[in-house]
């Protein structure tokens, strides 16, 4: 098994990208609820695959990774905005620096795997979630746990090769979540198992940060 190499999904499937590619027009359309349109296209097939207990396919891999990329892009932008705001100090600032760099690496990793079907990044707005230190850490916990919860839920639908690659990211998201919780004075690992987060719930969490 090739460890660490996330397979180039696009080239693995000759059916091409349009299946899940979200056009800028769709993204900017608005009324269909930005993330709803975005993630609905990306994840509908994945949920279907999961319920059908599919053994995975390149198309399903791409759909799931596309949603993963949205989360990673949002996280990377969030930490960038928080650092740019200049209100973080101490361990929260160190957290934003270290975790922000790691989210950027995840964006790069997924973008490379998705190729042209990665599409352009949406624009994000974070308001005082990124600049108010207390809101920052609460938002970081929410975003990191959303990321790992979605990965945990969708991973069963990935092909083994892509699962192996995605698992290298999931546990880092879990480390981020634990670290953020510790900074907030909470138990880093509040429960014995991380329950997967449904895509619909993840969309609700992400939606307020995506510019229509």
């Amino acid at each position: 098994m090739v460890k660490g190499a996330l397979p180039r999904i696009e080239s693995a499937d000759q059916r091409g990208g349009p299946v899940v590619r979200v056009s800028r027009a769709t993204l900017l359309k608005g009324s269909v609820a930005g993330v709803g349109a975005l993630a609905g296209a990306a994840i509908g097939g994945a949920e279907l695959a999961a319920s059908a207990d599919s053994s995975g396919s390149a198309a399903t891999d791409r759909e799931i990774l596309t949603f993963g990329l949205l989360i990673e892009r949002l996280q990377a932008a969030f930490y960038g905005a928080a650092l740019a705001g200049g209100h973080l100090t101490g361990e929260a600032r160190q957290f934003a620096q270290v975790v922000g760099a790691e989210e950027q690496a995840h964006v790069k990793y997924l973008t490379a795997a998705l190729g042209s079907s990665a599409g352009p990044s949406p624009h994000f707005r974070f308001g005082d979630s990124a600049t108010d230190p207390a809101k920052f850490i609460a938002t970081a916990i929410s975003l990191e746990e959303t990321g790992l919860g979605v990965y945990n839920g969708q991973a069963v639908s990935l092909t083994p090769k892509t699962l192996a690659a995605a698992a290298r990211v999931v546990s880092v998201e879990a480390r981020h979540a634990a670290w953020a919780r510790a900074i907030a004075g909470q138990d880093p690992a509040p429960v014995a198992v991380d329950v997967p987060i449904p895509v619909a719930q993840a969309k609700q969490t992400l939606e307020p940060f995506i510019v229509q």
Partner: protein, 231 residues
């Protein structure tokens, strides 16, 4: 907080007695498949931990992997339970041992219920004093949690059953949380790298063996002794 790596448990620092390896070699294999499937199916409904109530399509390789995970959970649960019983830890470290110990015991229970009669028995452990002082406890806990995270990561893609895979992933990320938690308390970056690497079962077993923490072999649960590990 620094970016330096923790002192890990090195193979060369200890005599390798092979106890864990021998225990793991006794994992039940294909000849017990029929019985295992029945036990797994019966247990599945009762186990809260496993999120997906799918058909128990257990195959022998899945059973081997689940027993491998159970062996690691036995090791961790015993470590935290002993540390708590001895009572040498204070403050945040004592709290970590208490909470994480509960998690590891829950993981043991879940795997035992899932595996039923196919589950390997708990070996005896001797932690050689690392549960008796804070510094040794911290270093060992960091090594255990990073090791468990890497071990689950290697095994997960090899699991065939979707419900077992879902359960293993739900535990994998909790082990990563544990690792981040104890790394922070030990003064290491909780998430030092953008990507976590997997570790093969053979290497995991070598590392565990090197600690000499396993003192008594698990009672045999299978007549087959031919070692065969996946990964």
């Amino acid at each position: 907080m620094t970016d330096r790596e923790p002192v890990s448990l090195k193979v060369d620092d200890f005599d390798v007695d092979g106890a864990v390896r021998e225990a793991l070699e006794r994992m039940p294999r294909s000849r017990f498949l029929g019985r295992t499937m029945a036990a797994g199916a019966a247990a599945l409904g009762a186990v809260v931990v496993w999120p997906a109530l799918a058909s128990a399509e257990a195959n022998s390789n899945d059973i081997t992997i689940l027993n491998f995970a159970l062996a690691l959970e036995y090791l961790q649960a015993s470590f935290y339970t002993e540390a708590e019983r001895i009572g040498a830890l204070r403050g945040a470290l004592a709290h970590q041992a208490n909470v994480v110990g509960m998690h590891e015991r829950a993981h043991v229970k879940a795997f035992k219920q899932l595996l039923g009669s196919a589950a390997i028995k708990e070996p005896s452990f001797n932690f050689h004093g690392v549960t008796e002082n804070a510094d040794a406890f911290r270093s060992t806990a960091v090594a255990f949690e990073d090791l468990a995270t890497a071990a689950y990561k290697e095994q997960a893609p090899l699991i065939k059953s979707k419900s077992y895979l879902a359960g293993a992933l739900a535990i994998h990320s909790v082990e990563a949380r544990h690792a981040a938690w104890i790394r922070r308390l030990a003064g290491f970056l909780p998430a030092a790298h953008a990507f976590d690497d997997p570790l093969s079962d053979a290497k995991v077993v070598d590392i565990v063996n090197s600690t000499h923490f396993v003192t008594l072999k698990a009672p045999q649960t299978s007549m087959e002794t031919n070692p065969h590990f996946t990964g």
